[in-house]
């Protein structure tokens, strides 16, 4: 099918003409659209309510190389808003069907689906993308992708982020009539972890209320889910995605509600309470996704300044929307620069502990040390100290799998203004003289 001459007319209006509120590196011209279509690679995380919208929006905005990852299969209840899916698709992987449907409708776009968990992919998989768009519904998953994206971030010796190491993210989220869209440029704008306190704590009912004095339908459901299930199914764990399990919890909740004369237990409420589901609204998803796709286009092409950096939308009573500029957490363990240390490959863990105790920027005593999930040394409790003590005589370089530079985390006591306080720090370790590079080359992430 030949591409009609006017197909990109609207996009070209953004990409061909200079402007005043564009990004400093914006270079308008016909080449920009070609580059967008050739070099930009987007990963869409999640192919649910937001993901479907994002895929459609990105494809129609000129992005051609898109991947989508989602571990879920299509359910009947998705069909009211996840508009890429049809009744006959129920049971099929969301990522695969979504990719196929958008490719059928938008010529020239190539979408590669990944039907798996985000944790199943290697870091290399994520490093291939120029931008990551998040359409997720959980804090865990966002936190994970954020940590992955931030792991590519490198700083120079003056603690400035290296432009080419920044993996931009746009994150969308909706709950009923409310939503947010945010731009995360690790090293420049706050990362997900810098502002994790924005999330309200989850509502959890006291177990004894559930067991003794239920007052609401939700109490009855949680009783069946958290207490009765274990009592009856010894050892078998509850699976929220198994309809039989859900049905069992529902019927037990109904019995419980009858016993206490509480109205309102329904199957869909049971699903809602157990899986923490808030009814999703198609229009909210569409609005939030549109904002995210537009930001992705702006980040990639520079055709306009980006949203700075957190948009909230509320359509509950009329319409309210606002953009707030959140600030970075200076010492963020995930996106912050940490303290740069250059070491010889011969430095043992013991020697390293002495070094960070004397280092003027650290003055860290009694440190415990971890490297990528490996516990290198623990001061306490005694059982862990004993298990890790043998590492003290080993070279840190060996303990860090002979990687020439990487991040490790230490926690211990530091004395600031004569007051001792406990702290948790990120250190960027660079080993001197590896691969014939000069120290400075490596420190600046050549």
């Amino acid at each position: 099918m030949a591409e009609s001459a006017g197909r990109w007319r609207d996009l070209d209006k953004l990409l061909l003409r200079p402007g005043n509120i564009v990004s400093p590196n914006f270079e308008p011209g016909p080449e920009l659209r070609d580059d967008l279509q050739t070099y930009a690679r987007v990963l869409v995380v999640g192919a649910g309510g937001l993901g479907c919208e994002l895929l459609k929006d990105l494809a129609l905005s000129g992005f051609r190389n898109i991947d989508v990852i989602d571990m879920d299969r299509i359910e009947v209840t998705n069909l009211n808003r996840q508009f890429l899916f049809r009744l006959q698709d129920v049971g099929k992987p969301k990522a695969e069907v979504a990719a196929m449907r958008v490719m059928e409708r938008v010529s020239g776009v190539n979408i590669v689906p990944h039907f798996c968990r985000i944790e199943d992919k290697e870091l290399d998989f994520y490093s291939d993308f120029t931008i990551i768009a998040l359409g997720l519904d959980s804090i865990e998953a966002r936190s994970y992708i954020n940590a992955v994206a931030c792991s590519f971030l490198e700083y120079d010796s003056d603690d400035n982020p290296l432009e080419e190491s920044i993996k931009p993210m746009v994150d969308g989220g909706t709950e009923g009539f409310k939503g947010h869209a945010r731009v995360i440029l690790p090293g420049k704008t706050p990362c997900f972890e810098c502002t994790i306190w924005l999330f309200p704590p989850q509502v959890k009912f006291p177990l004894c209320t559930l067991a003794e004095t239920p007052r609401t339908a939700a109490h009855c459901i949680e009783y069946a889910h958290l207490i009765k299930w274990d009592e009856v199914h010894s050892g078998k764990s509850f699976d929220a995605d198994d309809p039989e399990h859900m049905q069992w919890v529902f019927s037990e909740a109904v019995k419980r509600a009858e016993l206490f004369g509480i109205p309102g237990v329904t199957y869909s409420l049971t699903q809602g309470v157990v899986k923490n589901i808030i009814p999703a609204i198609a229009s909210t998803n569409a609005i939030i996704s549109a904002a995210c796709a537009l930001e992705a286009l702006k980040i990639m092409t520079g055709c306009s300044k980006t949203l700075s950096n957190y948009l909230t939308y509320n359509g509950l009573e009329g319409l309210h929307t606002k953009v707030t500029e959140f600030v970075r957490e200076k010492d963020c363990l995930v996106c912050g620069p940490g303290v740069l240390l250059e070491l010889d490959t011969s430095v043992t863990l013991q020697k390293f502990i002495e070094l960070i105790g004397e280092h003027p920027k650290l003055l860290l005593s009694k440190p415990s040390i971890t490297y990528r999930g490996k516990t290198l040394y623990m001061q306490a409790p005694p059982v862990l100290e004993e298990m890790t003590r043998s590492n003290l005589i080993l070279p840190l370089y060996d303990l860090m799998d002979k990687v020439s530079k990487d991040v490790i985390h230490v926690n211990g006591m530091t004395s600031k203004n004569d007051a001792k306080q406990s702290c948790l720090l990120k250190l960027r370790i660079v080993f001197k003289g590896i691969d014939g590079m000069t120290d400075m080359d490596m420190a600046s992430g050549a």
């Binding site: 936190s143 080419e164 959890k204 306490a380 926690n411 211990g412």
Partner: protein, 184 residues
């Protein structure tokens, strides 16, 4: 940004051959915070901690409490802790592995402790929880019952409660329920 990626595309091979990134394992922010909590633990002397999966899995561990006073003196109670990657945004999941006759712990090991659920705050830590659990043994509380029967006995007949606890801890039946011995 795009220009950057055109350049990057060309550099990729070079970069890949140079010092390879170690993609071993991602450490979550929750793990880091937990690591700090663990290294700063200041446990009551009646308490011990164990890591059944070894030193590289701190997210799952067991705490053993041996109350040194009260109804449960002489008993030994094991709690399993399972910590989420978004800790401390979410409280650890704590269960009692030892079957215990206790008003605030049911026979499945569910524990009614406010800071484990409705009153959890990210400023709390593992130490706080351990002290909270310890407190449950020194001050069992009939007002927040999970084991309704035990709570009733504690409220109405503390002497009977005391002898029920003894019988359960030495191994035996209390009403229709069998408890295995947990006196050390």
């Amino acid at each position: 940004m795009i220009k950057l990626f055109k350049v990057k595309e060309k550099q990729r091979e070079i970069a890949e051959n140079a010092n390879g990134r170690a993609p071993v394992k991602k450490q979550s922010a929750g793990e880091l915070r937990l690591h700090k909590d663990i290294s700063e633990l200041n446990l009551p002397k009646s308490t011990t901690i164990a890591f059944p999966n070894g030193k590289d899995d701190l997210m799952n561990f067991e705490v053993t409490i041996r109350p040194d006073e009260g109804y449960y003196q002489g008993g030994m109670f094991v709690f399993t802790f399972s910590v989420s990657p978004i800790y401390p945004h979410e409280a650890p999941k704590v269960k009692c592995k030892t079957k215990v006759y206790h008003p605030n712990i049911d026979l499945e090991g569910n524990v009614c402790l406010n800071i484990l659920r409705e009153d959890w705050k990210p400023v709390l830590n593992i130490n706080t929880i351990v002290y909270g659990l310890h407190h449950l043994f020194t001050e069992p509380n009939h007002e927040d019952p999970l084991n309704h029967e035990a709570a009733t006995v504690l409220r109405e007949n503390p002497k009977q409660f005391e002898s029920n606890v003894r019988r359960a801890m030495t191994g035996g039946y209390v009403n229709q329920t069998y408890f295995t011995r947990c006196i050390c």
